[in-house]
Symmetry: C2
Subunit: 195 residues, 2 copies
Amino acid sequence: MEALKQKIIDEGKVLSDTVLKVDSFVNHQMDPVLMKQIGEEFAERFKGMGITKVLTIESSGIGPALMTALEMGVPMIFARKRKSLTLTDGLITATVRSFTKQETNEITISRDFITEGDNVLIIDDFLAVGQAALGLIEIVKQAGANPVGVGIVIEKSFQDGHRTVKETGVKLESLAKIASLENGKVQFVNEGDQQ
Amino acid sequence: MEALKQKIIDEGKVLSDTVLKVDSFVNHQMDPVLMKQIGEEFAERFKGMGITKVLTIESSGIGPALMTALEMGVPMIFARKRKSLTLTDGLITATVRSFTKQETNEITISRDFITEGDNVLIIDDFLAVGQAALGLIEIVKQAGANPVGVGIVIEKSFQDGHRTVKETGVKLESLAKIASLENGKVQFVNEGDQQ
């Protein structure tokens, strides 16, 4: 997705060989027009798959997931990273280790909102080692629903997440695929090379 | 806002005299069409005020804030409740006690995204005792910017938040104002009675 790649080039900050900071348009400040374009792009890439729900994880996934759900005309659910007092009974949980934050979270959703027969599109901002995506796929399966797609805004293709998600058999679409952050420079995957 | 009030009547669950659960369309599952309508309504209520940024707090505020920002053609920033490794320098912080979760959080934004001269519209899902709104107003002031409005999706008007925010002099607009949750029933404020 060219508009996204250009934004990464213009505003992304390479903090190390593995960390790309995109706080100016995804993770802290959000560009609503770009988010809308991202939603349109995901809706196009996953059209015709009978998707009934969009699932993401708080917080940075909410923007792209909401715009995708709006475009597809289905509800969006965001998994929570810890329990709140107003969410007690009927939870489905999975354990996820965050690569960026170096911490482990329980992620949870209510059984009320994803049920048997749902075709679920999982959306997240980043794919690194793939733990969040795997946790969300696990939650969908626990709910008796079908994980039919994983849509990622920015994939760090030099880490294991791409392979890990592909191995589940769930269709994966990443809008910007980064081959390397070495020497402080963003290099995108040459799409012709991608498996 | 009638569509919102109707949704609260149809799907809101009164858990106690002070807690209204709206997990099916705001706090866990989000209704994207309703969120878009909420964004349009806030844009209308705060038009002509020269707003340059929309500010909210993760996670449930992100949906309505993003849709408002899209409608207004400005960026959205979400304050974080704790520090992450990719946000270190140049933070502005305030302390906020959550009424629902009975816990105290540091909320933070980066100095990069709200600066002197910005006219900031604060959006949040709930107004109860007003601590989150006050914390966000404080952050905007610390940034040297102007808090010009507070837009709330659901106000619990029987708690102190309405008065507390009004006392700051910042324009407050709440789309659904709840007078009482007593006896398990949602009663809205009669708009003619509202101060």
